[in-house]
Each structure stands twice: as C-alpha cells, then as structure tokens.
C-alpha cells in the first residue's frame, strides 16, 4: 500500500519526492511527506489539493487516514530534522 501511494503521488507530480510511511503498521493510517520544486509559490491548500485529489480517485477508503505534509525543496531542507530526516 505504501508503494502504491508513493507511485500515485509521483504519477501526479512527476518531479516530486514522496516519502510514505505506515507508522502503526496497520495498513490504514499513513503519513506522507511530499517535496516538489513545483510547489514553489503555491499556497499550502493548493499543494495539498495537488497531492490529495489524485489519491482520492485511486484510494477511496485509504485517503481518509493519510496525514500529509508538503514542502518545497528549500522548506524541506529547513524542516526535515523535525521529522527525523
């Protein structure tokens, strides 16, 4: 499932780096970090919509339990230590 979500994100946003985790190992609650230079200048809402809308079509039920954070490469470098990277 983790691989399928990563694949769907990269299909929707080809230049993205997508890190998807299953933190409770339950196959239901996922956490995704998506980093893309194309997020530059876009509101967080727009960034989330660009990730979530394609996922909504692909994974009707799983998406409800996906925590999402989006970053431009610059923001990711600034903040990745907060997430253990």
């Amino acid at each position: 499932m983790v691989d399928a979500i990563e694949h769907a994100i990269k299909t929707a946003i080809p230049d993205a780096i997508a890190i998807v985790k299953d933190p409770y190992n339950d196959g239901q609650h996922f956490q995704a970090y998506v980093i893309s230079p194309s997020f530059e200048g876009q509101s967080l809402v727009k960034q989330h919509q660009r990730v979530m809308n394609p996922l909504k079509e692909a994974f009707q039920s799983a998406v409800h339990a996906l925590g999402l954070k989006t970053f431009t490469p610059e923001k990711w470098e600034e903040n990745k230590h907060l997430y253990g990277y």
Binding site: V45, H48, K56
Partner: protein, 104 residues
C-alpha cells in the same frame, strides 16, 4: 433534496461580507470536534474577530462547502474571501507566523 447551488451562493456571499469565516462542527463556544476546536482556540488566542458556521446544523451547507473549496474535510477557514485550509494547515501557518500576517 439539498439545494447545493443556493448553499454555495450563500457561502460566496458570506466570505465576501466577513473577513474571517470558519466553517466547523459546532460553534466557537461549543466545538463538536477536536479539529474544529483547535482552529477556534488558535483564532481566539490571536484575538481574531471571526464568524463561525455550524455545518452540523445545515446538511446542504456541509455538502456545499466541500465542493466549494474542493476540500473533503471540516473545519475550513476563510480569510478575506480566500480558502486558507483545514486544521493541519491552519496550525502550521500559526506555528510559522504566517497566519498572524493574514489576520493583520
């Protein structure tokens, strides 16, 4: 039969008339969901003067706001007629200081 189009028109007018509108579950004194309550707490903490709309009390509004914003969950915060985000985004913007700028 829900009247989605008229509910969307109501939203469009509402966010034009009021600087800050929070679509939420419950109201600012009695939030009915932890995420709605968190956004209320942030706005109160910043001393914002905001309107709330209770989507639990209006099924048409609840359906309309999700389509209007192209966003599947509540709460939803509008500032100056623009959709800012739900609980996660509002919290992030509060923590990095950008929400304060939007409210100024």
């Amino acid at each position: 039969m829900l009247n989605l189009e008229s509910a969307k028109q109501t939203i469009a007018n509402d966010i034009k008339t009021h600087k800050i509108v929070l679509y939420m579950k419950g109201n600012k004194d009695f939030p009915q969901c932890g995420f709605s309550g968190q956004v209320v707490s942030i706005l109160k903490h910043l001393g914002a003067d905001f309107e709330t709309r209770d989507i639990l009390a209006d099924e048409a509004l609840r359906a309309a706001i999700k389509e209007f914003s192209d966003w599947p969950t509540l709460p939803q915060l509008y500032i100056n007629g623009e959709f800012i985000g739900g609980c996660d985004i509002v919290t992030e913007l509060y923590q990095n200081g950008e929400l304060q700028k939007l409210l100024a």
